[in-house]
């Protein structure tokens, strides 16, 4: 549905900023695709390259088989009508009430007023705000505003929904509700969703696939459970395990991170480690996350100071099925 080929964006100015560097990715129809990275990584720039709010300095953008980068202004505007977008700051028209905000894209598309209003009411039902038709954005909470923005983005019946930090201005509860709503819409309509975020939890909650962006480069991409259970890059690890333990404070030598895919759990493993090879390890931290309904556990283990014992423990852990082990070198949080 969306294909980026070697997309780069450089902002020229006194000092050039390479906001996006040579990113290629493919997002399949019906997928919820997360793009995650730290602040300034170029996430917003990248997503704005998809609907060409930002024109890439290099590379091609295809949406639904059409090369957007080759289109003229007018044809591009036509294509943009088939893409919805929601923002961190909602960006509703403050002088229009909710119903008229939702009517706006249809007005632009030339839909008759009567039909637009009818469809807008249906969309308000969909986002669970049927009684807010006449309310102005200033009268709504953040979560409600984002619901209206979602309804508005769906009004033109788009094939693609772009979400730039759509939940970053919301409290955890509203965040969940909005994510549920996006998930529900994705399941019911098969719309392709691109979710930009700096929070791993958002990706875990709804995304099927994820790309990690670091300093404008896409350093990792793949299924969420794969990236989550075994991040390959430094940026990936810092995103997946945001609050680490400072290494200086650890009483032990080496630290390893053990991740369980699926059903296994960590207590029996630590016990069997002690029994089977006589090595005691410290559990420095443990965490279970649920991704797309499946439970994933991770555990930080401090290995003994003694080199041979540590090696034995490591070998034992690596020998376990459904477990990935990885040494943590720079654990400074």
């Amino acid at each position: 549905m969306i294909r980026l080929e070697h997309v780069s964006k450089t902002f020229s100015g006194q000092n050039e900023v390479h906001a996006v560097r040579d990113v290629s990715l493919h997002i399949a129809p019906g997928e919820i695709f997360g793009i995650i990275g730290f602040s300034g990584a170029g996430k917003s720039t990248l997503v704005r390259c998809i609907n060409l709010l930002e024109r890439p300095t290099q590379g091609k953008v295809f949406v639904d088989g059409l090369e957007l980068t080759a289109l003229g202004e007018k044809a591009l505007r036509q294509e943009r009508k088939k893409m919805g977008m929601i923002f961190q700051q909602f960006n509703l028209l403050m002088q229009r009430n909710c119903l008229d905000n939702i009517c706006f894209p249809m007005e632009i598309a030339g839909v008759s007023r009567g039909r637009a209003r009818k469809q807008a009411m249906e969309l308000l039902e969909l986002v669970d705000l049927p009684d807010k038709a006449g309310a102005y954005p200033a009268q709504l909470s953040g979560g409600q505003k984002q619901r209206v923005a979602i309804a508005r983005s769906l009004a033109s019946d788009p094939k693609v929904l772009l979400c730039d930090e759509a939940t970053s201005a919301l409290d955890p509860q509203s965040t969940r509700a909005i994510l549920r709503l996006i998930q529900k819409i994705n399941r019911e309509t098969g719309i392709t969703v691109v979710v930009i975020t700096h929070e791993m939890t958002v990706v875990e909650e709804i995304c099927h696939k994820v790309a990690i962006l670091d300093h404008g480069e896409m350093v990792e991409t793949g299924r969420v459970e794969d990236i989550f259970s075994n991040p390959q890059t430094d940026a990936g690890r810092r995103l997946v395990y945001p609050d680490g333990v400072a290494l200086e404070q650890l009483p032990t030598g080496r630290v390893v991170r053990v991740a369980f895919n699926g059903n296994s759990s960590y207590e029996p493993l630590v016990a069997s480690l002690a029994m089977d090879c006589g090595v005691k390890v410290n559990i420095l931290g443990a965490d279970t996350r649920s991704i797309d309904g499946k439970a994933f556990g991770t555990m930080l283990l401090g290995l003994p100071q003694d080199g041979t014992e540590a090696a034995r423990a490591l070998a034992y852990l690596k020998g376990q099925a459904n477990v990935t082990v990885e040494e943590v070198r720079d654990y400074h949080g």
Partner: protein, 232 residues
């Protein structure tokens, strides 16, 4: 003081004065409304050009055009009104067929006020939330639609305030125009106060101007506030 009192009594007992004031109110109101309407429209168009044609605007225009536009507006704004009026009165002769009276003052008022209004409105339009404009672009709005359906409606309260300010500014310019042949309350005040040494008439005429300004400000302020949906 006796003279002032007797002049005052005269105003309220002689129908001639009443007529003079009523005419003055009418002429002032009429010329101000017409001038403001036309000047505001012109100013609005200029302001939209300034904002939209800017290099980060929604429809950038060639830099030389923008430069020229800015320079012309700045020049017109910096020439003192009375001098500008002397120049533009020839235009009045062509447009309305006379160089004196209420009608003659309208073209100079428009020429003097439009650039001022352009700057006033420009400031408001620039304050439109960038994010909202971006959202509109993402929805496939054309530059015209962005101006017409986003910028202007979103700025409506500010535009009403600008209109009020324009109206009041033009009212005071119009009073000045009384000095060189314009009509209305300004003319009455200057004629009587300056040339006929009738302080009472001058005072009443000036008070009437002040009252008109107060009314305009009250109505404008009220409308601006009522139309702003961000406040509720």
């Amino acid at each position: 003081m006796d003279k002032f009192l007797s002049q005052m009594t005269e105003i309220f007992t002689t129908p001639k004065y009443l007529e003079e004031f009523l005419d003055g109110i009418w002429e002032t109101t009429y010329s101000t409304v017409v001038s403001t309407a036309v000047a505001f429209l012109l100013g609005l168009v200029l302001a939209v050009l300034l904002v939209v044609g800017d290099k980060d605007g929604v429809r950038p225009l060639p830099t030389p055009i923008m430069k020229a536009l800015n320079i012309v507006i700045n020049i017109l704004r910096s020439v003192p009104f009375l001098i500008l009026m002397l120049f533009v009165l020839d235009l009045s002769l062509v447009l309305v067929g006379t160089k004196i009276g209420t009608k003659a003052a309208i073209p100079p008022l428009i020429v003097a006020a439009a650039p001022f209004i352009a700057r006033l409105v420009e400031t408001s339009l620039r304050e439109t939330d960038r994010g909202v404009i971006e959202a509109a672009q993402a929805m496939g709005c054309s530059p015209f639609q962005i101006v017409w359906k986003v910028m202007l409606p979103e700025c409506r309260p500010a535009l009403i305030s600008s209109f009020t300010t324009s109206f009041i500014t033009i009212l005071s310019y119009g009073a000045m125009a009384g000095a060189i042949g314009g009509g209305g309350l300004g003319k009455t005040a200057i004629n009587y106060g300056l040339y006929k040494f009738n302080g009472a008439v001058m005072l009443v005429a000036t008070t009437l101007i002040v009252i008109l300004v107060q009314i305009a400000q009250a109505i404008g302020g009220h409308l601006a506030q009522r139309s702003d949906k961000r406040l509720r």
